[in-house]
Structure formats: C-alpha cells, structure tokens
Symmetry: C2
Subunit: 244 residues, 2 copies
C-alpha cells in the first residue's frame, strides 16, 4: 500500500513543529527521495493563542485551525497531525472541517504512557494552561483510574512563564533548571511518570534529566503518525476525538 500524505497543523510554536518534522523524517528513512513520505506543513503561528482562547480571554483558535485543516486536505493530505497539545482543545472543530483523520496527540500519549508503565497510580503532566483548563489529560487519565498531577497555582504561572520563554527562543540553563524543578515537585508528590504534555517541553527537558520515565508527547505523535502513514497501523482505528 502506498504511504499516506501527512498534513501538519503547525506553528504552535514553530520550533515545536520543526522538532516534529525532524523526528518524523528520522523515523521514516528510505534510500531514495521518492520513497519517503510526502509531508505538507502549514506552519501558521498566527493561530490565536490557545491558552487565552480556552480561558475565554481571547478569540477562539477554532476557525483558523479548521481552515488550515481544510487547506491541508485540499492540498492532498490524507492524515492530519498537530504537534501542539493545547490546540487539541479544538480537535472536534478540526475533525468537523475535514474528511480525513487526525492523529490525536492526547489519546496517543495516554495510551503510550499506559503501555510504557502499566499499573501506574499517579502521573505528572507538564502542560499549558489551555490543556489543563480543557482537562485534555486529566479526563483521559482519570477515566483509566490514574491520578493526574498537574501544575497548580504558582506552578502553573511558572510553567506559563517558561513556555513563553521557550517560544521566544530561550532554551537556556535557567529555563531547563526550572522546568526540571517542576517535574521534581510532581515526583515528590508521587508521580511515577512525567508526561511532557506540551511540545515545547521536550525542547528543554530530556529523559536523561529525570529519575523516572518521561513520556514525550512529540515523540509519541511522531511514532503514531509514522505508523499510520506507512500502514503499520490502520487509520480505520482512528476514531473521532475522545477529547472535546
């Protein structure tokens, strides 16, 4: 079977999209150009801020995301991926706009976490305000009897500050140390696994930094997208969003 053309809803942020593209290419090598995946990327950083949108403090991200999805489908995409966790608050709007499936980063990351560490009780989730407000990880984890430990109060403010610093290009030691400290607080609170539930997190936090497993949502989305695109997994198994 021919590989499927992948459409990428990108630009949220651009460096996370670059990270996803680099890893998707690395996951799908071939001897000749012509045997590699066609990947159409709409790196559109103009999408209204997802965190403000979910909080009702800014315009919805949905209309532009739906338009981008539709444009990617028209350009030939047969499968969509969106390397931004918080934007999955609008997964339903995206799916309503197209006739092609979206590989849902939240669903795939939760499943990958369960496969990696069966029987876990508590999971730490490093995620942005929009992702938390929309309960993208907490609902899915709690439905499986797992307690989600997420940034609260001051932790949440710190996470958002770090997130916007990463987006502005600051990948320095201070950002790394403070992101690691947040993960450490979750581990102290009983987390047996940390989910990097925001595609900017892996730009500053690696498995080697942590004493427990780190599930990187970008890596999970890369592998799932590669598997669906190359037919290792069937897109018929991709349901509509279980997230709102």
């Amino acid at each position: 079977m021919a590989n499927l053309t992948v459409g990428v809803l990108g630009g949220m942020g651009p460096d996370a999209t670059l990270d996803f593209f680099a890893k998707l290419l690395a996951a799908t090598p071939a001897a000749r150009d012509q045997d590699r995946l066609r990947i159409i990327i709409d790196n559109n950083p103009k999408v209204p801020n997802r965190n403000d949108a979910v909080a009702g403090r800014g315009p919805s991200s949905a209309p532009l995301l739906a338009q981008m999805a539709s444009g990617l489908e028209r350009a030939g995409a047969e499968l969509l991926a969106m390397p931004c966790n918080a934007a999955h608050a609008f997964a339903g709007d995206i799916e309503a706009a197209v006739n092609i499936p979206l590989v849902n980063i939240i669903d795939e990351t939760i499943e990958a976490t369960l496969r990696r560490v069966p029987g876990i009780g508590r999971v730490g989730v490093l995620a942005a305000a929009g992702c938390l407000d929309a309960r993208l990880y907490s609902d899915g984890l709690e439905a499986r009897g797992i307690v989600a430990i997420e940034p609260l109060a001051q932790q949440r403010e710190i996470f958002m500050e770090l997130l916007y610093r990463i987006k502005s290009g600051d990948l320095g030691g201070d950002v790394r140390a403070r992101m690691l400290a947040l993960a450490g607080e979750f581990i102290d609170a009983g987390a047996k696994v940390i989910i990097a539930g925001c595609t900017e997190v892996p730009l500053v936090l690696a498995q080697s930094d942590l004493p427990c497993p780190l599930v990187n949502s970008t890596d999970v989305l890369v592998q799932a997208t590669a598997d669906y695109a190359t037919g290792k997994r069937s897109v018929n198994d991709l349901g509509r969003a279980t997230t709102p």
Copy 2:
C-alpha cells in the same frame, strides 16, 4: 507592512528542506508565536529525479513542481522558495504556473558570491548532474566573466554517489572526507571560492572544513527569503528567472 507568507517547494531532498526550515526559523525570531512567519511547506519527495529529467533519462520534474507551486499559492503563499538547486532547471515552469515570485537560489547565490569575494576569477561549484547539465551556475558565472570549475567525468560520478548517499541518510566520515577532497581538487585548480551549489552539500561540508570561503546556497536562500518575506528587500525586485 505585514510579513509575506512563504511557500516552500520541498522534499528535494527532505533533509535539505528540514535544514532550510530550521535556518529560516532561526533567521526570523520573535517573542510571540503570532509575530513569526507563516511558512507553508510541501515536502514532496515524489518529484521525479531532477538529474534524470534534465538528462532526458526520466520523466520531467516540471508538471509536479508546477502543481506544487500552484497548490502553495492557493494555500496562501505570497512568495516561493525551493531549497534544491538542480530543480531550478524548471524555474520557468514554476513561475509560469503562479502569480507569485520565486526567490531563485542560483541568482541569489551568484550575487552573494560576488558580494563576498569581489573580483574573483575562478569559482568551484559543487553541484549535481542536473544543475551542471542545465548550466545553471556556469552560464550565470561566465556572463560575469568568472570561470566555473565544476565536477567533470569521474568527479561528477563521485559527486552523484555522495549525493545519493547523503539523501539515504549517510552523513558519515567517508562521505565528508570525499566531499572535502572534491572541493580540494577545485582549489588546486585555482578556485578562490567554493559554492555549495546543492542543498545536500552543507549537510556534510562546513566553512570550517575549508581554507577558502564557502558560499552555502541554503544559507543564501534562507537570508534572501527572510529579507523578502519581512520587507527588508522588495519582492518587486524579484524578476522572472534568468536561468532557463
């Protein structure tokens, strides 16, 4: 003035497209996602082999390139860039298919070479067979009174072998050493500057490897694209291809 949306004719090869995307993002930082460039990439490695097409040994690359250009324009691109030198043999076909300008990697690289080293007599050009057969660099350089030293006979076979190894993911020491040896032969033949006139070359050859200036066509295209997209240079100055 608002930035222009960049459309990228990519996938020739995918790793060169990734390199271009990474450098274009690095060249256009901003504090907020929303202030960064929109970049639409059609990473389409299915484009028929450019070298075979120019040599008349395979189907033309032109129809699919024209279709990709048209699709990018339809998706909102206001400016096109194509990080593949040899594919510029079809620049005229691309321009005929759209109403937006193409930043021509050959023209920009020749101009950048003249700016960097005024009054040079001989330039070494590391380029693929399609680029050589279409005389993309040699015509433009000779028109400016510069002698182009290009891979001939066995050098050409070696270059193509290295090119396809890079495309297959082999960036190892042997490939690097042999690419450097080719550049060394050009320098021995009197080249005062080496042009990396193939976007796979910079994946294995850096300025620090060479005793003379290296003009990297990917870097030149990145800077020109960033300048046109952000209005530092006017797209009105972008003519139609001077290359065929």
